[in-house]
Symmetry: C2
Subunit: 387 residues, 2 copies
């Protein structure tokens, strides 16, 4: 698929496999069991929107040595057969009573010694995408083999992106740049917010997104109430601040950034908030280096915002980005993850302008040895006004 600019050459997957197996060896895990769309895409290149159906579990096993094995519903055999994976075992899912459980047990039994350890991501920001009752059955069926937490194994590998991955994320950001540039064409006083959301998604698709997995935003007088709400039919009004945020997907990779707009005019508090958000982002971009901790970035952002007389927003002020809309680490006071070159991240400072009125600003970056490289086109320094 690489000829068309889609997918990756097999060498990319072989490098990922080697990195995972090296990490597995370091913690003594004899196999790695992956169940999520993101982890399976990372190892195999298997890309489909069919994950939207919760009906069936999917499994990929990375053995300590040798190539990955896919244990998947028969409906995926054709598409997985187009990937670099050759060992593909299927069952006729969904199958009441044994929905892949015995096939998974048989496969793991053949790959892992009886006293072995099977890594499974179990920690923060992970999910097990299979029925928990079946997981318990698999645990019983594999004993005395046991599952061990593989969160670190997967996260330390996936969080450092290859140049090929960075190229994909940059392309997804460019799609969103194009769509954000068109916002003045479909948003302004009197336009209903839900129609603005629709037009924004249309602009993302027309700009080349394969699909739009995430749009959110807000609008309100002098600031919005939250950043995760769907849109209602309320028309935008003079004095509103409009925020649009998107995770558009191109070839399986996300962008995730937002843009703010003042409707009609921006009052002084809004202008000051925007200035502070812009400056905090600049400050973080100037200071970030490999070896810092995620919590250091939170501190940089908060200190800059406070220095501008603002009340920093709660929650995280940025995060990892790539195969999912959000990845670890999180820019919070608590996250001690070390930043490394090749991490793709969002900087997402937020402020509370007044009770129930917030403003959030977001850019996408990649951390390099010597500092930050922007992947999104920097937001304008002055808050754009839509009339």
């Amino acid at each position: 698929m690489a000829e068309t600019g889609r997918g990756f050459p097999t060498a990319e997957y072989r490098t990922r496999l080697t990195r995972l197996q090296t990490a597995m060896h370091a913690v003594g895990q004899d196999a790695l069991l992956l169940t999520t769309a993101a982890d399976i895409f990372y190892v195999t290149g298997f890309l489909t929107r069919f994950w939207e159906s919760p009906a069936r579990p999917w499994f990929v096993i990375v053995p300590a040595n040798g190539d990955p094995v896919a244990v998947i519903p028969a409906i995926g055999a054709d598409l997985m057969g187009q990937s670099w994976i050759s060992d593909i075992r299927t069952w006729d899912a969904p199958f009441p009573g044994d929905d892949g459980v015995s096939l998974l047990i048989d496969t793991l039994t053949g790959l892992v010694p009886a006293t072995g350890s099977i890594g499974l991501p179990m920690g923060l920001e992970t999910q097990l995408r299979m029925p928990v009752g079946d997981y318990i059955r698999v645990c019983d069926g594999l004993a005395p083999r046991r599952f061990a937490d593989a969160t670190v194994v997967v996260q330390r590998v996936r969080e450092v992106k290859s140049e090929a991955e960075i190229t994909k994320i940059r392309a997804a950001c460019a799609v969103a740049d194009t769509a954000f540039a068109q916002v003045p064409d479909f948003a302004g006083p009197g336009h209903a917010l839900d129609q603005v959301f629709r037009q924004f998604q249309i602009a993302l698709l027309a700009g080349g997104a394969d699909w739009v997995s995430y749009t959110a935003g807000g609008a309100g007088q002098g600031g919005y109430g939250d950043v995760i709400s769907p849109a209602g039919p309320v028309p935008l009004a003079d004095g509103d601040v409009l925020m649009l945020d998107t995770g558009a997907v191109l070839d399986g990779y996300f962008c995730d950034f937002d843009r703010n707009f003042a409707i009609g005019h921006a009052n002084d508090a809004v202008s000051r908030a925007h200035e502070a958000l812009f400056a905090a982002t600049d400050a973080a971009m100037a200071a970030m280096r490999p070896g810092m901790l995620a919590s250091d970035v939170h501190h940089l952002l908060v200190q800059s915002l406070r220095g501008h007389g603002q009340t920093p927003g709660g929650g995280r002020l940025g995060h990892g980005l790539g195969i999912t809309l959000t990845e670890w680490p999180s820019f919070t006071p608590h996250d001690q993850t070390e930043l490394r070159a090749g991490m793709v991240l969002t900087l997402e400072p937020g402020v509370e302008i007044a009770p129930g009125k917030i403003m959030v600003h977001e850019e996408n970056i990649v951390l390099r040895d010597k500092g930050v490289e922007l992947l999104s086109t920097r937001a304008p320094r002055d808050l754009p006004i839509l009339r």
Copy 2:
């Protein structure tokens, strides 16, 4: 929100709560723990695309008596506060080391007696949306309280839709009807499949979809290879069969149906396959009644297809539909779920025209006391030809 045609009146949620609590009482469960977007939306009306971020778990507890309790990340407090739920407890997620675990344990401890049973969906077509390591911690922290499978509790309630829900799904189907009617405007010989997919999503949004959670399809000479692939840039050619499938979302409810088109012309095998698929759907729609089993519908479809000299496709030939793209039951030989009036379902017969060449046909219906009511506009009897 009901004034604007969005959401449901509180009475709808109270009815759902009563039905769930009645089902819980029947199996002796003292609370129900819900973790997925669909289950939480069903009970609370909390609708956001923020589930796309895997960073944080979300919990809603339905006690045996009284109103639900939300235990959620602080970022969701504003939006959950707009729902009918009044007991909302938050933590500052993501929080390494205790990402809602102690708050969830405290809340469940206060709601469930020490010898009590907490229902959790664990069975076929369910997922536990929280880190499995945290689930184990919650199990330990709640002992001697124990978790028990609540798959049946949730599925028997959610699978029978209210008239208000059916109205939402019908509206989502109407959006897709509108978009499918426009396919001849942007698909035909020479059009690249990936551009057709983009234009189809744009048509769904322009037609009123809030967002498009699922599009898939296929195209190939005399049939396509699978039904879950993303699109490549290959141009459609004379003799191709094009299929487009969508799960467009309106106010949180899905449609899920597809349409087939012949590019330039349809060969005899394709025409016969389409005729058989149309007839099998008719046969099922004429015969389906409450009290039949899901496996009976599979049998009806397979018998009709065989009667037309076709090789029925493997896998399931239809399924439930509503808050997610696919819901239980599954029209397979194995699914013994009883059909009940109010179930919204897809009929999705498929045939293998030749090795590696399939064709799938899909409609959305609601089962009534006296039979089937269509929610999608019936596909044309003759396969449309795009020139």
